[in-house]
């Protein structure tokens, strides 16, 4: 097994308590950042090569440089804890085990970008975890890490939690901003990008919870140290959520670049009943499915998964054994995307419903040969033709499944068409 220390989910009892966090060096990174120039902080994050953990692997430091340096309007940070992509359950672990490192990362980000208010958007179902994070925020306020003139530095910032109410689409960054503003969660057309016109028309940065939790490490230990963890182009510790047919499902912290087969067989204890592996969805339901025979040497990092024909996404690895009825899984995912489509774009609204309907025909062995190409047709018509990436997210699983598992569809044709 790849040896690794844990930096995001350290094995220290009661680490969620502020006193325990502080006695293990917590909030030292924020103090250090306050002694640096804001641009130096951003530069450090940029050089570290930290890439967003929310799904798109976007370079975090670069994103921060998009924020205007001076602005006559307030600037905002929105931290994305919507975590609703099927197969994804890692940010919840941060709220539970290491909320102060998240808060510290948020404070450092606010300082670097000159932001005075941060909102942490958390899915409504996480009521219990919202309370855990709120308790940590309250403790940090009490100790003077958040609020006015923090630690006598002259820098002030507030952190507020905002509870979602059951809508996957609100994880999409522009929809998330509408949701905070008290609107329905409709994605906005881009441009303008959030750094130009975000919350209430003001410059805004959106980053994932896990992304922000990485930031204090970079400030404490330096970009050089950080950039050497795991894969060079996509470095750092990463939380991999492993679910499905494995003996020990759960969240595992590893350096990027660990082989998927090692994650499945070593970390997650292999497949129950010693069954064979059939397929994996490597990074949450929106990433392309891979056949077991496509996994040799494939690792959990952006380049490796891209070369294999998929992506890291949220690193939510869904494992499926040889007996899995893939058509049923795909049909269930199509139902999900149809249910979660906000309905603004016709290709997404109509296409997702249609995909689900056609897939149900396969599920019930009532499909015709032409239906296989029909699925591809519908998916191709959605992809790239919508306001937000939910449309693509609905199309990719279907496209990849038809290309890589055509036989599964052929097995589900109506008897007459054989």
């Amino acid at each position: 097994m790849t040896q690794t220390e844990h930096y995001i989910l350290p094995d220290i009892p009661e680490y969620h308590r502020i006193d325990v966090y502080e006695s293990n060096g917590g909030y030292a990174a924020f103090r250090k950042a306050l002694g640096m120039k804001p641009d130096e902080v951003t530069d450090e994050v940029k050089k570290s090569n930290l890439r967003g953990r929310g799904g798109a692997c976007f370079p975090t430091g670069l994103k921060w440089t998009f924020m205007p340096k001076t602005s006559d309007k307030p600037k905002y940070l929105a931290v994305n804890g919507d975590e609703s992509e099927p197969g994804t359950f890692k940010d919840r672990q941060i709220f539970e085990q290491n909320p102060h490192q998240l808060i510290e990362g948020i404070l450092i980000g606010c300082y670097a970008m000159g932001i005075t208010v941060a909102y942490v958007y958390i899915r409504g179902e996480y009521g219990k975890w919202i309370k855990m994070l709120q308790a940590a925020v309250d403790a940090a306020y009490e100790k003077g890490y958040i609020g006015k003139n923090i630690l006598g530095s002259g820098f002030s910032t507030e952190i507020y939690l905002h509870k979602g109410a059951g809508a996957y689409i609100c994880g999409e960054e522009s929809s998330l901003m509408n949701s905070i503003e008290g609107e329905r969660g409709y994605p906005r057309i881009k441009p303008p990008f959030p750094a130009q016109r975000g919350l209430w028309g003001c410059p805004t940065t959106i980053n994932n919870v896990e992304t922000m939790t990485n930031v204090p490490l970079i400030i404490t230990k330096g970009w050089e140290w950080y950039s050497k963890i795991g894969n060079v182009k996509h470095p750092g510790p990463i939380l991999v959520g492993i679910s499905g047919h494995v003996n020990k499902p759960g969240v595992y912290e590893v350096p990027t670049g660990v082989p998927l087969l090692e994650l499945i067989h070593t970390y997650a204890g292999g497949i129950p009943g010693d069954k064979k592996l059939k397929a994996v969805i490597p990074g949450g339901s929106s990433t392309m499915i891979l056949r077991a025979d496509q996994l040799d040497g494939v690792c959990m990092d952006a380049d490796s998964l891209k070369a294999a024909g998929s992506s890291v996404g949220t690193a939510g690895l869904i494992v499926m054994d040889e007996e899995t009825d893939l058509i049923r899984i795909l049909s269930r995912l199509a139902k999900f995307y149809h249910h979660e489509s906000c309905g603004q774009c016709t290709p997404c609204r109509e296409g997702t419903g249609w995909l689900h309907k056609v897939l149900e025909r396969f599920e019930h062995h009532q499909a015709k040969t032409e239906d296989i190409d029909l699925l591809l047709d519908i998916a191709n018509n959605i992809e790239g033709n919508t306001i937000c990436a939910l449309g693509d997210a609905a199309a990719w699983p279907v496209q990849s499944m038809v290309r890589r598992f055509r036989g599964e569809f052929e097995k589900c044709l109506a008897p007459a068409s054989h």
Partner: protein, 154 residues
């Protein structure tokens, strides 16, 4: 209708945002915590409070699946049937819940005790299959365990 204490709470929360409208989701949550659901009168009251037309409030309530515009049973049972849970037998869990509660998914039992819903991924895929009862998550379930959990509820 929101009570005095909760009206004050909403006013306090409003200070976190530069515009009154942003307090809408928090206000709806407070209303739902008070009554278990959000009535038309309460929606109008919140609209008046935040300076929003009733139509906007209603539009928001109906957009988000967690806001209830009708009362639910005493216990709200949510069964995740998305991919990771499906792979680990959520079908059987749902059938068991429906049987024990005498209510099909999307319905409330005749005695008003249970409301059963089939839901999308709850972010607990590592503990699949799972259900939630109110805010509490129950993970790594079997049909027998589910039955035991439900039967213990008063």
């Amino acid at each position: 209708m929101l009570n005095e204490e909760n009206l004050k709470k909403i006013e306090e929360i409003g200070k976190r945002y530069p515009e009154a409208k942003a307090a809408l989701l928090p206000a709806l949550w407070i209303a739902q915590e008070q009554d278990g659901w959000i009535s038309e009168e309460t929606m109008k009251q919140i609209g008046d409070l935040l300076g929003l037309p009733y139509g906007h409030v209603l539009g928001v309530v109906t957009f988000y699946t967690m806001f209830n515009s009708k009362p639910l049973g005493t216990y709200h049972i949510e069964v995740c049937t998305n991919a990771s849970c499906q792979l680990r037998g959520s079908d059987k869990i749902l059938r068991k819940v429906e049987h024990v509660c005498s209510a099909g998914a999307g319905h409330t039992s005749p005695d008003g005790k249970w409301t059963v819903n089939e839901v999308e991924c709850m972010g607990a895929c590592g503990g699949a299959p799972m259900i939630a009862i109110g805010e509490e998550y129950y993970e790594n379930l079997t049909p027998d365990k589910v039955e035991e959990i439900l039967r213990k509820l008063p």
